[in-house]
Subunit: 236 residues, 4 copies
Amino acid sequence: MTETQTLPYIGKRQIHEHGHVILEKVMGDELDILNNAKVSFNTENQELDTHGKGVLRFLMENRHGSPWESVIFRFDIILPIFVMREHVRHRIASINEHSQRYSGAMEEFYVPRHADIRQQVGKPGSYSFEPITDPLILTEAEYLIENTQREAFRAYHRLLELGVAKELSRVVIPVGAYTRIKWTVNFRSLLNYLSLRNHKDAQREIAAYAIAIEELVSEQLPYAMELFNKYDRVAP
Amino acid sequence: MTETQTLPYIGKRQIHEHGHVILEKVMGDELDILNNAKVSFNTENQELDTHGKGVLRFLMENRHGSPWESVIFRFDIILPIFVMREHVRHRIASINEHSQRYSGAMEEFYVPRHADIRQQVGKPGSYSFEPITDPLILTEAEYLIENTQREAFRAYHRLLELGVAKELSRVVIPVGAYTRIKWTVNFRSLLNYLSLRNHKDAQREIAAYAIAIEELVSEQLPYAMELFNKYDRVAP
Amino acid sequence: MTETQTLPYIGKRQIHEHGHVILEKVMGDELDILNNAKVSFNTENQELDTHGKGVLRFLMENRHGSPWESVIFRFDIILPIFVMREHVRHRIASINEHSQRYSGAMEEFYVPRHADIRQQVGKPGSYSFEPITDPLILTEAEYLIENTQREAFRAYHRLLELGVAKELSRVVIPVGAYTRIKWTVNFRSLLNYLSLRNHKDAQREIAAYAIAIEELVSEQLPYAMELFNKYDRVAP
Amino acid sequence: MTETQTLPYIGKRQIHEHGHVILEKVMGDELDILNNAKVSFNTENQELDTHGKGVLRFLMENRHGSPWESVIFRFDIILPIFVMREHVRHRIASINEHSQRYSGAMEEFYVPRHADIRQQVGKPGSYSFEPITDPLILTEAEYLIENTQREAFRAYHRLLELGVAKELSRVVIPVGAYTRIKWTVNFRSLLNYLSLRNHKDAQREIAAYAIAIEELVSEQLPYAMELFNKYDRVAP
């Protein structure tokens, strides 16, 4: 059983059956981004007025990146290992992760709903993904995905029973198994993450996380996110 | 005239006649550092109890670095260019800086008090710095430092009067002139900064900034800073 | 079948049955590290003489880090996913990785030799690892590790046969399965990697990679590695 | 007197009267970039054929960034402090710099040719720069720029004579004075540098460095630079 987060937080989204994204803390707001930019002129705004919004628009359109780094988010995320393996590639961020070496594997693993069991169609480099509709195939695929992982966890527990070290027993754990991280990231790096992961080419399962993160961030910085969308979702 | 910061802030220190360090915002506390570490075990503490303090001590002593990155500080700093030139070398941070290209040079420049006009004694690699006591030398040195910079600013303003572009006129500005930054930095990177800059080998003028920053940070994270000092001021 | 590297390389180590470390290219040598340091004095050495060696020793002992960043290594590494998951946490490096989404899983997976099937003894935080000697346990553990992974690959291939997309079929793949990376890293960051991963607390399987990397690097920079060991294997 | 670089190097450009850019070393080539990308498919090319060029084009057009990080350059650069202050903002790079604290200021300083003494015309945010043609203004401006810096250096030397420490005497040195760095940077980060600094909005004096660097890099990676230009000089 994954233990729940009981400390106060800002917002939460459930992802699939076992995952979640929790926005724990945020530092800064759109006025801060503006005032980080305005230090160039040794001036400061007291509020985000029309002029200030124009400055933010200019910064986004012309990809002046550093002011956007002044706002920081911290998330608690429960996600499958295969999603984590893409997530961790975003280097400009800080991560602490659940340790299978120290505390053993978390018990949950990802099994897609039938609607998410899909085929890829087309040539390498330009695949599209389409639903599988044959109920026999869906049933067998779901069985394979669930049962293979279940058997792997069974073998894992038997290895522990035999006295094999946790760090070694884990080699049988599937990449569909869940892990948990704390993720601290600045807004500029987060926009780069969103541009790549909340994107039509991203794998559906990682996109689910990116969409949830984007919703939570948009509640904090609605105007900045409006600008991000207006200027083609290119990170400044 | 440097415009003052009028938005609310957490703490402020004046540095020399014209500089300052303002702690604008902070995200996180010692409990967050602990809970970033405890995600390894998929558990969470509600408060920083004796056990939790022991965990923090273990993390500092054994240099487990990533949990300390979960706390973020943002500062507003007014500092001479020659101090800025060392400050900016700390790459794991975000900076926005006053622009001489866009808004012209800030008018202030650094003139040391007599007590800070010093000589270096000893061999390269192991200098020490000792006061200069001869009043004639002190007077001449202060005059040279102040007058040379004043004349440089006079030339700068004459160049502007002549219509020379700000970005070019500035080449005469001395490195003793002030600039202003917003500095967003995580606590781990900040500890590395403090280990190098609040250090006996640091130049006195940059150390003055590091000392002020350390005071402001210590008010926020007193136990973490106690551990940093206990374990030889080595960044985890 | 993993395709072999056929372009010229500098050195290679086989790791376990299916892994390897190949040192593909290196830029720079110990004289470069020295001359990066000596730019402080606007001077340059033609060779690494006694004086130069003294400077390198001073830099290592006093942890002056930046000159060590001037030497770069690039490796080709085939490694299990659970080792990769630790490797990728070293952010100051560049990685390209084999993609299960695009080209499907590599077929190999890690099965420890009997001598590596171990138990952990002692309290959390200070485990030691000791061999398992009971032949019945060894036989069962090996069977579980090998068979569970083999079955997972069988399920994976059946999912592909059913038309399920590669990116989704892979969720059953175990973390013992192999992946392949190109790793470009500077010498300073590499020393930090070695200090943590060629260390008694590192998991044996990742240490095997760190040891191989250290051997290959030591052939290139023998004096620098001698200094690293002399000064307690702390990255400068 | 700046000491000359006597070790072998790949290419050199003189910048203005006192500056230079030397390409000291490079690791990797376009085939390496291709093979870093092809590790995704666990394959390797022996040469950069038509197919390989197509892959590079795809990577640049679609901003797949990491393969471009596998090629590294190291430069020796002599540049004015005001140029260095922009250069150092590129964080994904390694720098060692001449130290005024340890070895005193370098003696040279930047004086623009008449053709570079310019005015800014237009509104903030969209300045253009136009030549100043009045010979009286040019003469006075040149005099102010040269003489102010010369006087600052005279004061600096007098301060040293008086026994004032080098680290303090330097506060009078103008930002037009030269410094020297070693700069190690990967190709992706370099393209970001070029996109910003060899750009119509960059200050002419920093652009002079970026243009020289781009020439030297283009000799090493002509096809990659062709692609960079083809796709709007956006770093991948």
